[in-house]
Structure formats: C-alpha cells, structure tokens
Subunit: 130 residues, 2 copies
Amino acid sequence: MVGGLQFKGAEPGDRYDVFHTDCPARDMVDHVTSRWGVWVLISLRRNDLRFFELRESIHGISEKMLAQTLRVLVQDALVWRKVEPTTPPQVTYGLTEFGREVSEPLTDLFDLITRRLPPADAPHRSRADD
Amino acid sequence: MVGGLQFKGAEPGDRYDVFHTDCPARDMVDHVTSRWGVWVLISLRRNDLRFFELRESIHGISEKMLAQTLRVLVQDALVWRKVEPTTPPQVTYGLTEFGREVSEPLTDLFDLITRRLPPADAPHRSRADD
DNA sequence: CAGGATCCTATCCGATACTG
DNA sequence: CAGTATCGGATAGGATCCTG
C-alpha cells in the first residue's frame, strides 16, 4: 500500500492519505516554506525587525509580498506584530515561540545548503562589487 | 559587503543584507522548499519509490509537476534516479546522502507543525468519505 | 513609515494528448 | 510505465499610486 507518511503514529492499515490536500498542516507548511516566508522567518531569528528593515534585509522582495507574507505568518501565529502609534507609525515584527521553533529547522536547512554550496573558491558575490 | 546571511557571526554593525537574490543557495532552498519538492523529499525518506508510487503518495500532484520536481531535485543532487531498462521500464528514485541530510530539517518542520495543528480530535479526513 | 488598492505580467500548474 | 509537449486558466508577484 502506498500509504502513509505518518512517520510515527499511524497505523499501516489506514488509507493512504499522506499529505492530503486538505490536511491543515499542508497549508501551514506551504506558508512556512513559501517563497518569502522562509526568509522572513530566518531574518527574524536574529532580532525583531521593522517593516522597512525586513524589506531591506530580504533582497528582491516587494512591499506587497512582504506585507502579504507577514499577514499570513501573523495569522498562523508564527510572527507577532507590534504597532507603535507614533508618527510616523512604527510596526515591529518578531517570532513567536512557535515561530522560533519552526524557524529552527529552516535555519538548519539553509545552513546545510550554504555550507555545501560554496565549495571553497568562486565567491558568488560577482553581483556588485560596489 | 552584501553577501551575508551569516546569522551567527554577524556583527551588529554591518549592513543588513541578508539573502541576496543571486546567492546560489537561494535557488536550492527554493527548490527544496518548493511546493512539491518538500513532499517528494519527505516521501523518499522512508524508502525509495517508483514514479507512480510517488504520484500515489503525494496527493494532488500531477505527473507533470512530479516529473518537473524530480528533474530539479536530481539536478541538485538531492535525489538519484535509477532506470531499469525493462518493459515496461521501471524508474526508481531515492535520496542521495545530501538529500537525506536536507530532508531531515524538512521532516522536523513537518513534524513540528503536525504535532501542533491537530490538537486532538477533528480528523481532517472529512474530504471524501466516498 | 507602513501598508492597502489596482493593474498587469510572468510563472505555475493541471488537463490532455502523444512517445519510447 | 514513465515520461515529454502543448495549451490555457489560475495564481504569484512586481510596479505604481494612494492613504493613515
């Protein structure tokens, strides 16, 4: 049978619904591993950041996608959002407890890959030596 | 310098430029965390699988996306591909050493989220009791 | 500064049909 | 069985303008 994927607590006899499309975990995993979600979560590990700091940190992200990504992550309770009602307003984002947990394997992943990729030489900073 | 993402060794004084678009690690992380890449890698952790087994395992994936995802993962040396020149042909996929390493944090992530999400009841297989 | 609204493009992705 | 090729709809995502 083609089953499971429930690595631990699943009976081998149940129907194969490994990662069912409607599995709620699927959605959150999708959010976490979304194009920009990954980087937001990793960025916030170091310290809380304001909106524009995040935008600066994550090269290539647009304000729209940043806002959208943050909204989702906040809804998922991975990220908190603190609004300082000053003028101009300051909004700070940070990881919740759960967000920190989740961001850990993400960091491991990133770490693993970065350690693997730049073998020794060929500095990939060819982009702009400015 | 703009390279970074050194979450660990970063001085607070350097410019925040976390992940550059042209960082080669970005691409691989994108592949690994791609919509279907995640599930392929997790599926292959248990054992090697043939094409149609993967298709059955990962609900909702189309042949096109599976083939495409596998191609990328094989190129990235995360997954190997063995062709049995029989009739009909058999093609088996499995994790490389590196793929196994990479899939670990992915599993952690998935595990973390699944443990968090289904609090106790509400079996999410409401989908089709057909 | 932090974003929402709008428009428009690129790509993702599924369905279908076809090949070895 | 294990794919490739092509088409078309859906969605992601960037650019721009605008508001509190």
